[in-house]
């Protein structure tokens, strides 16, 4: 049951490719792997924290005022993640802060809390939150990786922003001197995102 909750949330009901939720930050931030990873971590933190909190408080949240309560808790965890990021990964913060702040309006988180965390015990809620966060992270990392590879010709560039100076040597230059600029620009996000969505659908149909 528990493993099933996680896997269902992460793969079968993948927030991005199956439910098409949270696409705004997904498309906006996924122009490099490190940005994608930063957003994935922050979203996961907010997802887990707010799911657990809501699940623990579920007996006290009045039905009539549940949405304000949900948004309040999500906003709190979002602000906490912004503060933590600014304190511990400042370079990354400079690049993705704007998108971290709009996690608060990410319907993926509000949707999972409304549909699951507010009705389930904390353990289940945490598993579902972790699964959803992992699913979102997978979508972000795949999209970010493909876009960085096609657009910039590199992989893992700038990982030092997240993991410290030791990660400077992680950069893999696959194609020298860049690639297709359009892939890094917003249209590229839609093109690559659409192709990946098609791939996900194809796999799902082939498996069924």
């Amino acid at each position: 049951m528990s493993a099933g909750t996680f896997a269902t949330a992460a793969v079968e009901r993948n927030p991005a490719w199956a439910q098409l939720l949270g696409l705004c930050p997904l498309l906006a931030v996924s122009n490099s792997l490190v940005n994608a990873l930063g957003l994935a971590l922050a979203s996961g933190f907010v997802m887990l924290g707010s799911s657990l909190t809501i699940s623990l408080l579920r007996g006290w949240i009045p039905h009539a005022a549940r949405l304000p309560c949900f948004v309040l808790v999500i906003a709190t965890f979002t602000t906490m993640s912004v503060l933590l990021l600014e304190a511990h990964a400042f370079d990354l913060y400079l690049r993705v802060a704007l998108f971290i702040q709009i996690i608060v309006s990410n319907c993926m988180i509000l949707g999972r809390i409304e549909a699951f965390a507010s009705r389930q015990p904390p353990g289940q809620a945490a598993l579902d939150a972790l699964g959803t966060a992992c699913g979102f992270a997978i979508a972000l990392i795949v999209l970010g990786g493909v876009r960085e590879l096609l657009g910039n010709g590199t992989l893992f560039a700038g990982m030092a922003q997240l993991f410290g100076p030791a990660a400077d040597s992680w950069t893999v230059e696959v194609v020298a001197n860049g690639g297709l600029l359009v892939v890094l620009l917003p249209p590229g996000a839609f093109l690559v995102g659409g192709l990946l969505l098609g791939l996900a659908n194809w796999i799902r149909i082939a498996r069924a």
Binding site: W60, M80, F90
Partner: protein, 252 residues
Amino acid sequence: MKPLASLAAIGALCALLLAGTHRLTADDIRANRDAHAWRVAFDLVGAEFPTAGLHWDGDRLHLPDGVRLLRSSINGYAGEIEFIAAFRPGRNGANSLAGVRVTGHRETPGLGDFIDTARSPWIHRFSGRQPEEVDAVTGATITSEAVKRGVSALLRSMAEPVRSGNSGDSGGSGSEAMPPPEPQQPLTQALPTASVPEAAARAKSAAAAPETALRTVWAAPGTASQAARAREKVETEWSRPGTNRTASEERP
């Protein structure tokens, strides 16, 4: 009534969480922001300098050697472009542009982000030139022109005499009390005016406690002669070969 009470209770809980996080991160965040501003300043001046006792006065920072750093922002293609410009006092009181660095922007990645030194050296073209002489970048003229406009505006504002209360950028007090950098007098000329033992003593004291030497300049902005004398201290300390400029302050 019950929904309101629950909402208030949850609000209080959230406030507690936020306050706790703020307490835990405030110091790191301040250090990060300061370090970032200093990194930009070092980059602009071309050397690391002791930062103890120096602090931003609103949007201005006066360095001991007469260089002034000004922070400003202007509307670019996609929101505000924040930048810092360095001005060096030149002949006849005119300020020459020593350099510009963008500290924050939201320009299109791949097209408008050439203003960031991480992407392109374009912004270096402002050093020692008039902003009008810098060519715009094809495909991103709005971004280019915005930076040029912003720097021009700063240059014009530098040319005007500072009137009390007109700046609107002074977060603290004493921005008007800051001594003007006396552009006509090159710094090295200040040295011979002091007698040799006195200068040596000063140099020694400056070497012993460079932080205090710097702090006296900026903590007590007084007459121009005081400032000149204090600058001379700093100059003495800085110009000596082998002086480790960063040793006095371990801030990264």
